[in-house]
Amino acid sequence: MTQLAIAERLRATVGEARLQSLLQAYAESRGAILPLAVLLRDEGVGIDDDVVTWIAQTCITSTAMVTSALSAFPELMNDPDSITVCDGLSCRLMGAGYVQRLLRDRLGSDRVCTSPCQNACSSAPIVQVRGTLYGGLQEASLQALAQRLEQPERAS
């Protein structure tokens, strides 16, 4: 696909009205770097070099600036289908280590990643899949979740 075609596809994904309102929300358009990346990610677009270039052009800044901004946010660069196990203190105390081990054994290490505290600690241990939070996991609910995640198309 040409750069122009990629740009048109991304612009259509964001939508002209949303794009303009995002750009106008900031005194300098580089404020829209992260909002645009998150919006695209929400729409299921993986953040690759083409996307970085488009965001840089749209926000009138350099690709280095966009890359630097996104590097502070590793979750954004992860596979959108990855399964995130909270590894914060409360989740650890309630068995996050066990959850990580079980999901890695069942689903493979490359599909499972960890995060710091997700700030839903009352429901520890926590797993997040495509933005959906699974909390208060017990042996049965964890096994059921693992079983559902073994069929990725029905995971969420």
């Binding site: 203190l89 710091p116 009352s122």
Partner: protein, 447 residues
């Protein structure tokens, strides 16, 4: 001890996040009063009379901050921290997901008092539900004419923007951090220039508030400052929402009157007690040294007690009162190692004292865990912890993040120093990978 809901009033109502439900229960009455019936100066007077303080951890008087901002020429925008920079806290996430209109209304009132035209709600990007609920609530408020449109007799229009931020952020310094984050999206606090100057966003002065602080404003404006003043202590009026998690029978978010009791009472009554009725350890991610169960019993839920010179009953920062509890299946040493590891991950990496000091300490705690006290130099460990603890005060660190990390670690290591060797040989504990799942009896205000 009982719950007194002000911030979380209505949180369990069905469809509490919907505009019509919020309106039916008095929602936006406070904003209407602020925008239509009184002027911005009177809003500040009302908030001053209420004695509201910031609930982000520093407990600064809100009205005084607003007056100081006015004296410096005012602010262009208000930045709202909806990112829970304290790990173990789940108050602002709950507010965003269950009571988004209270948050929006509070932000509107504050923006009006400050005569600011823009509000940025800075929400953790990975809280997709919170972003979506807030986004929907903003659409509802916009359609109903509460935002982006001249409101009441004041004719003041406030624009609201949702800005996703990475997270979690370092535990301190969000005043400087959030504007920087919007400008270039890197979570690096900036050094204060040593004056009282306001932080700036693209060159324009701004003010930063924590979400929960602003969510108190609607009821203060609607019910009057007197009702708020009736609760809490003279210097710290009102209520505080405490996040309790860990090895507790009923973890959750509990809103109680400030000064109405101790953390021990809160844990034993509202939170149902410790799971195995054993001794407990308490970690305060806000920056206070960790404690054992006995010390916790008398520790008051009142930031005023904590902030006295010398610490009063307990030296350290109350923070937001967030508490993580562990029973004695976990050793203080184990918890300290885990905590420091966690704190190091959240550091931005700009200051050597924090970046390199944390790694050095993690390595030494690991050696201590594996080989007992003879494997390390205890005085060097204490010395490094002291350096970390005073990093900001002595100009070695831009923000207070290393101080928080050090205080919690120091507290854990001081709980049973004579037993460090036996802790080191305790083997696997519930915090390790091999530990089984544990389950609370119930969850108060479940996510």
């Amino acid at each position: 001890m009982q719950e007194r809901r002000w911030l979380l009033e209505g949180v369990e109502r069905p469809d509490a996040d919907a505009l019509d439900v919020y309106r039916r229960n008095g929602g936006y009455d406070g904003a209407w009063r602020a925008f239509d019936e009184i002027d911005p100066a009177a809003v500040i007077d009302e908030v001053e009379a209420a004695g509201l303080r910031g609930h982000g951890g520093a407990w600064r008087p809100v009205a005084a901050r607003w007056r100081a901002a006015g004296a410096l020429g005012g602010v262009r925008a208000l930045l709202v921290d909806v990112s829970e920079s304290e790990s173990g806290r789940f108050r602002d996430r709950k507010l965003a997901e269950r009571l988004p209109h209270r948050l929006i209304e509070g932000a509107l009132i504050a923006a009006h008092a400050l005569t600011a035209d823009d509000v940025y709600l800075c929400v953790r990007a990975d809280w997709r539900r919170a972003r979506s609920v807030l986004g929907h609530a903003m659409d509802e408020a916009r359609a109903a004419g509460w935002i982006d449109r001249a409101l009441g007799r004041s004719g003041h229009a406030v624009r609201l923007h949702l800005h996703p931020v990475p997270g979690p952020l370092p535990a301190r310094g969000t005043d400087q951090l959030l504007p920087h984050l919007i400008e270039c999206s890197r979570p690096e606090p900036r050094a204060s220039n040593g004056t009282n100057d306001l932080p700036t966003l693209f060159g324009a002065p701004v003010l930063v508030h924590t979400a929960a602080t602003l969510a108190f404003l609607p009821a203060i404006l609607a019910r009057g400052s007197g009702a708020f003043r009736e609760l809490g202590s003279a210097d710290f009026p009102g209520t505080v929402a405490i996040s309790v998690s860990g090895h507790i029978r009923r973890p959750g978010l509990f809103e109680v009157e400030i000064g109405s009791g101790s953390f021990g009472e809160l844990i034993d009554t509202l939170a149902g007690g410790v799971v195995d009725e054993t001794d407990l350890l308490a970690v305060f991610p806000g920056g206070a040294p960790a404690l054992d169960g006995d010390a916790l019993k008398s520790l008051q839920i009142d930031p005023g007690v904590w902030s006295q010179p010398g610490g009063g009953e307990h030296e350290g920062s109350f923070g937001c009162g967030t508490i993580v509890v562990a029973d004695d299946a976990v050793t203080p040493l184990d918890l300290a190692a885990r905590w420091l590891d966690h704190a190091a991950q959240l550091g931005c990496g700009q200051c050597p004292v924090c970046r390199e000091g944390s790694v050095w300490l993690i390595q030494h705690l690991q050696r201590l865990r594996e080989g007992g006290v003879t494997a390390i130099d205890p005085s060097a460990l204490q010395e490094r912890l002291e350096i970390l603890a005073h990093g900001e005060g002595e100009g070695l660190a831009i923000c207070g993040h290393p101080t928080v990390a050090a205080h919690v670690t120091q507290g854990l290591l001081q709980i049973a120093p004579e037993h460090v060797d036996s802790q080191a040989s305790a083997g696997a504990t519930p915090i390790d990978d091999d530990a089984p799942l544990r389950t609370a009896d119930s969850i108060h205000l479940r996510f």
